[in-house]
């Protein structure tokens, strides 16, 4: 099956390419410019006319009655409800001490605040006009927002939702690189009270300075004391800390255009501060990059704790520490997979749950929440991006495609 799919992929496009290339390369007397969009970098010549490209974002409000919640599948005993909606581009979530849910976005440049008033949720835009303010986290009364290289702090925000104060601009202190490609951020404070920030590689696959790009860093909350926690990380947009060991676990999106079935995206565990996870020379569970890798490229590379499927785009992930779900979910990791673009047959568009093995070093993922992908028509209607546990043990799941948040609860 794997071979056949790959073969179809290659031969189909080779035929298409052959038909188009003949006329394309006949007169090259002028500029031979090879700039390509970041997502197309690394695409082999025979696929240069591939129709595969990232799916456009939906920036419009999706009315509640156009969100088919009844199509969502969860295991027996679990229930899904539409918890909040009307927030185009809703992605990463964080919860304030007083219960406000803050939601970051990418294209639409907004940060939302959701207030839960006893069973009814209202939302508002607290700041807008930013370039991809994806990263949000809350600490000591303040909301931290990261938009590419901008870092903003909104102090006392939960008491000032009706009149949002100007944020403290901490951009200069953090000195994050300005590249937008894979430059959108995830934010989280660790058990060490440091602010953890990923910096993606500004390409599909290229040589990088590992002290600048392709890493996860931690800072003091004022932006001082930067330290690289993980290197060789292509693009992580989600992480959490093990509730007992405090170890950092993170998702990583592996490279495109190598094949439809590989390399797999990853769930990783940082066992040693500064460990190397291989990008761009070694991918997934030890696949040497065909363009940049040399023999031995996977030596001294930390292998993934779990493989999460090729092109599935695992993003937000959280350990489950609540009491609502059955005991087997305790300390398991919920992972939102936004879904593929660089694959003819779409995959992902779901939430999986990874149960840790007894050694605490690896994990086994299983389906948890699906139905967003129509496998018959190869189309999708929803894109889960983040997961977040609520104080009652229920799980919120954001859906960027519909600007919605679902609540998953267990009723037995």
């Amino acid at each position: 099956m794997e071979d056949r799919t790959t073969k179809l992929f290659r031969t189909g496009f080779a035929a298409l390419a052959a038909a188009l290339f003949v006329t394309t390369w006949t007169d090259g007397a002028f500029a031979q410019k090879k700039n390509v969009p970041g997502w197309a970098q690394g695409r082999p010549a025979e696929l240069e006319n591939s129709p595969l490209a990232p799916h456009p974002s939906n920036l419009k409000v999706t009315p509640a009655d156009k969100i088919p919640v009844d199509k969502i599948l969860v295991p027996p005993g679990f229930k899904v409800e539409l918890w909040a909606h009307g927030m185009p581009g809703a992605r990463m979530m964080t919860r304030g001490d007083k219960g406000t849910i803050f939601v970051g976005t990418r294209s639409i440049g907004r940060v939302y605040a959701i207030t839960d008033k006893g069973g009814e949720r209202t939302h508002q835009i607290i700041t807008k006009g930013h370039v991809q303010p994806n990263g949000v986290t809350f600490k000591n009364g303040s909301l931290y927002v990261a938009a590419i290289n901008k870092v903003l702090r909104f102090d006392g925000i939960e008491d000032a939702l009706s009149n949002v104060p100007n944020p403290v601009d901490m951009t200069d202190a953090f000195k994050l690189p300005p590249e937008t490609h894979h430059g959108w951020k995830f934010l989280s404070f660790g058990p060490d009270n440091k602010l953890y920030i990923p910096v993606g590689a500004p390409c599909n696959n290229c040589d990088i300075d590992k002290n600048v790009h392709g890493n996860i860093r931690r800072y003091n909350s004022d932006g001082s004391g930067m330290e690289i926690v993980a290197r060789g990380v292509r693009n992580s947009v989600g992480f959490d800390f093990h509730p007992e060991t405090g170890e950092l676990w993170f998702t990583d999106n592996d490279r495109d255009w190598m094949s439809e079935n590989g390399p797999h995206c990853e769930l990783n565990r940082v066992s040693t501060i500064g460990a190397d996870f291989g990008f761009p020379y070694c991918h997934a569970n030890g696949i040497i990059d065909p363009d940049l890798g040399k023999p031995g490229a996977c030596e001294n590379v930390q292998m993934p704790a779990a493989l999460l499927g090729a092109h599935t785009a695992p993003l937000g992930m959280r350990f489950y520490t609540g009491n609502m779900f059955p005991p087997e979910y305790k300390n398991a990791i919920f992972i939102a997979r936004r879904g593929s673009w660089n694959r003819t047959i779409k995959v992902g568009f779901d939430v999986v749950v990874a149960t840790l093995n007894s050694d605490g070093q690896s994990a086994a993922p299983s389906p948890f929440m699906s139905g967003f992908l129509d496998t018959v028509n190869n189309s999708f209607w929803g894109r889960p991006v983040d997961v977040m546990q609520m104080p009652d043990g229920s799980l919120l799941v954001s859906d960027e495609q519909n600007g919605a948040i679902y609540r998953v609860s267990y009723q037995g």
């Binding site: 090879k34 907004r110 490609h181």
Partner: protein, 207 residues
């Protein structure tokens, strides 16, 4: 919602008959910011005062919108409304537009027929442009006939002066906002390359 917008756009298309065109051009005096109380027809009249009654602009520096992909128009209007794309003219125009307004405007213009302005070909410039679009594979995203798709605009038949302006804006990094794809792609092109691209693309038959 969808149906209502479609019928509103349909109403406008009926209005935009030759007879109505005279009426509209007479009534659209100034392009004021479309307040949220105005009807979609009134909003479309404001658009038409610059972008042309049939979506084909006759004003220098103003783009034609006829036949642009619906998602492209929607995305750009939302970028203007959100302050993510800055324009002296368009940022205030888009302020306060609802998603429903934007959907109706995008649907309306995507359904109009683009008309390529017939102009003399400057042979050297045209051939240079042709070589560049082939080398850069503009057609991979904008489609081989440059009619655009999804969030990527139609280039075929667009006004030459507007294509130059928009590409210069990417080069100067005054346009890009949340989507910097074109900044990266155009980086390093010369002024002559830009003029050649604009000349070639503007003369492609708009289909």
């Amino acid at each position: 919602m969808q149906r209502r917008n479609a019928s509103l756009a349909g109403d406008f298309r009926r209005l935009a008959s030759p007879l109505a065109a005279a009426f509209l051009s007479a009534t659209v005096a100034a392009a004021e910011s479309p307040a949220s109380e105005t009807t979609i027809q009134e909003k479309l009249e404001v658009c038409a005062s610059c972008h042309g009654q049939n979506g084909n602009s006759t004003i220098e520096g103003i783009p034609s919108l006829a036949g642009q992909p619906e998602i492209f128009i929607t995305t750009q209007l939302i970028y203007f409304r959100e302050g993510l794309r800055q324009s002296k003219q368009m940022t205030p125009q888009a302020d306060g537009l609802s998603d429903a307004d934007i959907e109706a405007i995008a649907e309306h213009y995507s359904e109009l027929t683009p008309v390529t302005i017939d102009r003399p070909i400057i042979r050297d410039l045209y051939e240079r442009g042709r070589a560049i679009v082939r080398s850069m594979r503009c057609g991979t995203c904008h489609l081989p006939d440059y009619s655009g798709r999804a969030q990527m605009p139609r280039l075929a038949g667009q006004r030459e002066d507007y294509l130059v302006l928009s590409m210069r804006a990417y080069l100067d990094e005054t346009r890009g906002g949340p989507d910097t794809t074109m900044i990266g792609i155009l980086h390093g092109l010369s002024g002559l390359d830009i003029r050649a691209l604009a000349h070639f693309l503007s003369l492609q038959t708009a289909q």
